[in-house]
Amino acid sequence: MKGRHEILVKDARVQYKFAIERNITILRGDSATGKTTLIEMIGAFQRNGDQSGVALKADKPCVVLYEQNWELVLGTIHDSIVFIDEGSPFISSHDFARAIRGSDNYYVIATRHSLYDLPYSIKEIYGIRNTTRKRYQGTKRLYAEFFPLIDYETGSSRNPDLVVVEDTNAGYEFFQHYFARFHIRCISAQGKSKIIKALIEEEYNTALVIADGAAFGPVIERLLGLRQVKDFSIFLPESFEWLVMRSDVLNDNEIRTILDAPSEHIASETYFSWEQFFTEMLIDRSRGTYLAYVKNRLNKTT
């Protein structure tokens, strides 16, 4: 599946309107905001259609996946938006990650767990909020929408004396060269899961963290937690390759068009995360030119 999909679910008391545009969306936030109610309404529509009393409008089928026999059931679901409520331990399993890699479905998962096997974006972690305004007074219905939960400030305005980069290869080389100009130490954390450890163990007054936002969802909550007690800024572009293409160094109209609406071009069955797509695209678009990109070594021209 690719593209952005708008979904409207309503009954007599509540209406949800939201859009999904990547293969994995996470729902979390405070209790009693309506996550379970939304998924129960979709489940009711799935069982009885219009006769459920729930109205559901979407350009793809919406289904709920439950704990029981999830693997068997999932094997029968295609080209659909799959909702999973919290309290389902299988979502943290390697088996689940294997099952949805290469899938043509999109997934909306209600959980506060960090799902380390799933490369979800910091931009696809949502809460649900009530948007009922005065214009709806007199009706009994409550109107709700998704809102991005990770609305982080870049952070400290002080100059960093340490830069921690998620990348190990070309991305790390690039930032290492760049910050050397300012005599700022730059280290590779050797992967996103080790950034927290580096920030706890390294010595610094102010640090800067640079990581790939497209797959940083499992780490972002802990990183923001750590920022309550440590001083560091955060820079999370989609990926290093996205940053290179966004800089327009390749001067390519098609790249500009794709970057303006990536979801229209990235099929979930081919790319588990958008960062894989951006890497492949940069390699492909720069091949045979003096700007040719390879992931494991920085092109000195860049």
Binding site: D30, S31, A32, R112, H113, S114, P218, G225, V229
Partner: protein
């Protein structure tokens, strides 16, 4: 005292909503604390042992209250058991501390995420034990630095 175990804990009850639906007793609705939790978290008034009136959903049975409120009521009424409190949002954190304060015996919960215990306490100190390491923490700094290493990929379920 409140005890928190971070990460995968096989003996903890994971699907707290389902567990609540099958273990809830009518007597729980008579408690002042139950009424206060439902008023604060669900914006709901207890009408009787089997029904509440929610601002958002109207009159609903107890089995339809929020997942966070269900977990809080389980922690309060079954202190001998360990529940997955990651089914509760940060708006439930102050209630977990309050329930632990009200009980003479130790309360243990299981967390899979960094619950934020501070916002509504505005820097006020708290005290709980992190079971994995035996560390007792008193403020957000001690809590965050002690809990974060336990919530890494290697400790996930």
């Amino acid at each position: 005292m409140l005890n928190i175990y971070f990460g995968n804990m096989p003996e903890a009850i994971y699907d707290t909503a389902s567990y609540f639906n099958h273990t809830y007793l009518d007597s729980w609705a008579e408690d002042k604390l139950t009424k206060a939790i439902l008023k604060d978290i669900d914006k709901a008034e207890v009408l009787g042992p089997q029904a509440v009136k929610s601002k958002a959903l109207g009159v609903i049975p107890m089995t339809k209250i929020s997942g966070g409120a269900k977990t809080l009521l389980l922690i309060d009424h079954m202190p001998e058991k360990v529940f997955n409190a990651s089914t509760s949002g940060d708006n439930c954190a102050k209630w977990i501390l309050k329930i632990a304060d009200l009980h003479k015996e130790d309360i243990t919960i299981n967390l899979h995420h960094l619950m934020n215990f501070d916002p509504e306490r505005k820097g006020k100190s708290f005290e709980f034990r992190i079971v994995n390491t035996g560390t007792i923490v008193h403020n957000m700094k001690e809590y965050v630095l002690a809990a974060l290493p336990l919530l890494g990929e290697e400790n996930s379920g």
